[in-house]
């Protein structure tokens, strides 16, 4: 192995491990964006930090969407996977197929005991998949 080749190999190794480290960091502790999946209790420990919360909408409690006041706020109650319930303010228009959704993923932060969500992913029986609506 020549000297230049060893040097090149070393440079490549250092480069790749540096990139790999940065990549891992961008997943583990992203400088912006969500810190990961959590339930309401975990998200409440770090108010102001963004999390993904998975749960279902409690349809027995009020859902509030008044586009005349603000078309970009939709409030409802979400029960997370641990059974904890919190009010959610979704800062977006109410998704058209919200009423048929089963599982909901919300991305947002806890502020003053309310979950302020900036984005929503709906798992509907309609989208793409095979689940039969029974």
């Amino acid at each position: 192995m020549t000297k230049s080749k060893a040097f090149a190999l070393l440079a490549i190794l250092v480069g790749i491990s540096a990139i790999g480290f940065q990549l891992w960091k961008s997943i583990e502790a992203p400088s912006s964006g969500s810190l990961g999946y959590a339930n309401f209790t975990q998200a409440a420990l770090q108010p102001g930090k963004e999390f993904h919360v998975v749960g279902t909408c409690d349809r027995k409690r009020p859902m509030l969407y008044n586009p005349k006041v603000n078309p970009d706020i939709f409030s409802f109650f979400l029960t997370d996977q641990n059974g904890t319930q919190r009010q959610v303010n979704l800062h977006k228009s109410k998704p058209q197929d919200f009423d048929k959704s089963e599982q909901i993923v919300l991305i947002g932060t806890i502020q003053d005991s309310v979950f302020e969500a900036s984005d929503i992913l709906l798992k509907c029986p309609s989208k793409y998949n095979e689940t039969t609506s029974r």
Binding site: M1, K5, A8, L9, I16, I19, L23, S26, I27, E28, P30, S32, G33, S34, L35, G36, Y37, A38, G48, E50, F51, H52, V54, Y65, P67, K68, P71, D72, H91, K92, S93, K94, P95, Q96, D97, D99, K100, Q103, V105, I107, G108, T109, Q111, E116, S118, L121, K123, C124, P125, S126, K127, Y128, N129, E130, T131, T132, S133, R134
Partner: protein, 844 residues
């Protein structure tokens, strides 16, 4: 036994039999091709290839026939079609379900097998290559088997009867012999009833199937420990075709997302999108590696790696999207059909087949052979303890590392010489690195499962930021490599030759960047100076690449125009990147409202509410929600866009009709509408609306009485009414008289209409006639006249239903998006030119 009526049992029996035939024929062929006998098996192989292709085509044909004939006793037909749907979407029904998409893959593969068999019929490569291809076929066909072996279900058959499906067999309605009479299908997903959806999946699956061919060539080469130059010439056209078809397929998906889905863009870095992008990127690397190998012998390692990886990543993507592991990470909600284990066997088998031949130590190779099935057994027994995977993955990675290291040490290529091959090799490595990054980000849900973590899938911004430097370097390498020859070059000399083109590119890039990115920096993270700089560099390198490739094309003689294919494909790719970057970074939300910031909360003020008849300003336009119309399941919203001239006049610009499909079985699905201009697109999407039809609702407000004189103006919610004049008609009988009040109405856009409420005076009796203008939602009653005061009394009612009808709407302007679509076409053209050039050259 219940005597069911009207069932077509024969179809399912034939279907099952044909699936089994295609599986058995593929499996036997794979064995036949690796068998070492002194018999001449050539005719056997020929017969087998034909039998296999016919059986697969028959399965597909039978399923289409069943869909056309509405055999709802079959679960697949019931689930994916119904009697009301348009028959032109019949093919979409075929591949909507998981079984159908495996069938599609199987079908393309069987056709490609015939192609490969024809190409290699007189070659020694025939048997090894076909053995791998038919092993792939056997695996895919096993996905359609739907048989039980020791309580474990292998595959999922599209020929399962509804009453035998586990979800339905216990329901009471299937116990009735007449159940079929009352049955209609569930129907096709509304999102898939789209022209793009009829061509996007078959194109993509053809691309997936095509990646299998270079893989089969490379794998057979590896097992025979031969140099890639043995098979590279034969594999090259397949690699180009795979690259072209997969690229077109991906961008068709982008076009579909852009036109028909409410993402608000053509690319969202969704796991499903990424898992077709990565095989394409790797196929690009693979094609260039084979090309390099054809031109200059050597670079064996990168050729092997980059031709094997595309197909392995296709398998990995299939595993990701079909196993349900993506769960919450994707907008595409795929469900688990219970085939995760089978997909895993498939993936691990081919990884084993690719890694095992390069392990030189026989003990280590034997250990790998033992370890691979052990992983599966461990996964099956201890479902949540992935220790087997840790060991297996590290074992695989260590051997790959040793392999790459030894090849690197042994190679005589100098990485840093100024010749085209060096830069191509660097480009290939860089694409591998880029693919690894995207794959890593996409695999976050897998990492979460394997290591019990809860990491969030990376945001679109994270992807865009990481890809910026990668793309800049890829564009630089491909452009620079194209300026060099395969022999030795002097960098300074080349730089001197391209100086004018480069300076021109710099000047144009400055002209673009200063107004777009420096004076008006886009929002979001782009406002940080280094991302702003990154954007500028990206635009510069795109323009530079365009010019230099243009220079290359101009230097090619017109008589050999077909040689320009490579440079054209590069230009197409650069245009795709340029279009994507410019339209994404300068995408403007026309419906954004000014809103007070709430500290710590990310608020979107991205949509507006529009009441019927209202006109509001959106960016350069004025917009009216004019009408709502229901056609079958679809509710169309008519949105009119206007320009306002200096003289305050509204000139209609264009009309868009976004719709919401209100499907009782599938829920509501919004379908945006986009107006295409040469320089930009205006995208309009109804985010929320009341879908009930209220046009004819009796929703008039309480009458309001108005007293006025000629020349007075009545101001209403939506209109101004000017009392213009009166006309008096004396009737035939002396005692009767008809007074018509002429009212001039002006709406908010300044357009005028007239209203003529009348009042009859008969024998001193006042008989008012109600006057209604339906489309304006106005009711007027002229009921009193006071001649002495010269005043009139009129009651006015406005239609409240029209006032209560509203939509929540989002609109975006995508500038320069056409650059992207032009780029796609140029890229496809260039790639196909190269393909045809190669086919003609090798056949002549």
């Amino acid at each position: 036994m219940i005597p069911y009526r009207g069932e077509h049992i024969w179809a399912g029996q034939w279907g099952h039999m044909l699936v089994i035939l295609s599986f058995v024929s593929a499996f036997c062929l794979a064995l036949l091709c690796v068998a070492k006998t002194k018999f001449n098996l050539k005719h056997w192989i020929t017969t087998g290839v034909i039998i296999h292709a016919i059986s697969v085509a028959a399965v597909a044909g039978l399923l289409i026939f069943m869909l056309l004939q509405h055999f709802y006793e079959y679960q697949y037909v019931w689930q994916h079609s119904n009697s009301e749907m348009d028959m032109r979407y019949i093919f979409s029904c075929l591949w909507e379900g998981q079984e159908g998409s495996f069938l599609l893959w199987l079908f393309w593969n069987s056709l490609l097998c015939i192609g490969v068999w024809y190409q290699l019929r007189n070659s020694t490569l025939l048997k090894p290559v076909l053995s791998i291809l038919f092993l792939i076929q056997a695996f895919i066909a096993s996905m359609l088997l739907g048989v039980y072996v020791l309580d474990y279900k292998i595959g999922s058959s599209p020929f399962l009867l509804l009453r035998e499906h586990s979800d339905f067999m216990h329901l009471p309605f299937v116990k009735s012999p007449e159940y079929l009479n009352r049955l209609d299908g569930r129907g096709l997903n509304p999102l898939l009833m789209n022209a793009w959806m009829t061509i996007h999946p078959p194109t993509l699956f053809l691309g997936f199937a095509l990646t299998g061919i270079p893989f089969a060539f490379a794998l057979s080469g590896l097992w025979q420990s031969s140099k890639p130059s043995m098979w590279a010439p034969a594999a090259y056209p397949w690699a180009i075709a795979a690259m072209a078809v997969l690229g077109i397929g991906i961008l068709m998906g982008g076009a579909w997302a852009y036109e028909a889905l409410s993402f608000g863009g053509f690319w969202a870095w969704d796991p499903v999108e990424n898992s077709s992008l990565v095989p394409w990127l790797l196929m690009v690397a693979g094609t260039h590696a084979i090309l390099l190998n054809l031109r200059k012998k050597g670079s064996n390692a990168s050729t092997y790696i980059s031709t094997i990886l595309p197909f392995l990543t296709v398998l990995y993507s299939t595993f990701l999207t079909r196993s349900g592991i993506l769960g919450n990470a994707s907008v595409h909600a795929f469900t688990d059909l219970g085939m995760t284990g089978q997909l895993l066997i498939y993936l691990i088998t081919f990884v084993y087949l690719a890694v095992a031949p390069v392990i030189s130590n026989s003990i280590a190779r034997a250990a790998y052979l033992v370890l691979s099935p052990l992983v599966l057994i461990m996964a099956a027994v201890y479902q949540h303890i992935p220790w087997g995977f840790y060991i297996w993955i590290s074992y695989t990675l260590i051997h790959l590392f040793i392999l790459v290291y030894s090849w690197f040490i042994a190679s005589e290529n100098h990485l840093f010489h100024s010749q085209r091959s060096s830069f191509m090799r660097m480009g290939i490595l860089w694409i591998l690195l880029t693919s690894a990054m995207i794959l890593f980000f996409t695999s976050v849900p897998v990492i979460n499962t394997l290591f019990s973590k809860h990491y969030a899938p990376p945001s679109i911004d994270t992807y865009n930021q990481w890809m910026t430097p990668m793309v800049i370097l890829i564009l630089f390498l491909m452009t620079w490599a194209h300026q060099l020859t395969y022999s030795k070059n002097y960098a300074l000399q080349v730089l001197y030759k391209i100086r004018w083109w480069s300076l021109l590119a710099l000047a144009i890039a400055i002209c673009i960047c200063v107004p777009f990115y420096i004076l008006n920096p886009p929002k979001g993270y782009y406002s940080i100076w280094y991302w702003q700089l990154g954007l500028c560099v990206l635009v510069l390198i795109c323009i530079w690449g365009l010019f230099l490739h243009l220079r290359n094309i101009l230097r090619i003689k017109a008589s050999v125009w077909i040689e320009t294919g490579g440079a054209l494909a590069h230009i197409g790719f650069i245009l795709v990147i340029l279009g994507a970057v410019m339209s994404t970074s300068k995408k403007t939300n026309l419906t954004s409202r000014p809103q007070a910031e709430i500290p710590g909360i990310k608020t979107n003020a991205g949509s507006i509410m529009l009441t019927r008849g209202d006109t509001v300003q959106l960016g350069p336009y004025w917009v009216t929600y004019a009408q709502k119309k229901r056609v079958g399941m679809d509710v169309f919203f008519t949105i009119q866009y206007f320009h306002k001239t200096a003289s305050q006049q509204f000139i209609p610009a264009f009309t868009l009709q976004p719709k919401v499909q209100d499907n009782p079985r599938m829920g509501k699905a919004a379908d945006p509408d986009t107006k295409h201009f040469l320089s930009h697109d205006v995208y309009t999407h109804v985010a929320y609306a009341d879908l009930t039809d209220q046009t004819q609702a009796q929703g008039y407000s309480q009458p309001v009485n108005m007293l006025g004189h000629i020349g007075d103006t009545i101001s209403l919610r939506q209109y101004l009414l000017i009392l213009d004049s009166i006309r008096t008609q004396i009737g035939n009988a002396d005692s009767s008289m008809r007074v018509t009040l002429v009212l001039r109405g002006i709406d908010v856009k300044g357009s005028e209409f007239m209203a003529y409420p009348t009042l009859e005076i008969k024998n001193r009796m006042l008989i008012p006639k109600p006057y209604e203008i339906k489309d304006k939602g106005l009711k007027l009653v002229f009921w009193n006249i006071k001649p002495e005061a010269q005043s009139f009394e009129i009651t006015v009612q406005e239609n409240a239903a029209l006032q209560n009808d509203f939509i929540v709407m989002e609109a975006y302007a995508f500038p320069f998006i056409n650059i992207l679509w032009i780029g796609v076409m140029v890229m496809a053209l260039g790639t196909f030119m190269t393909l045809f050039k190669y086919i003609f050259k090798s056949s002549s």
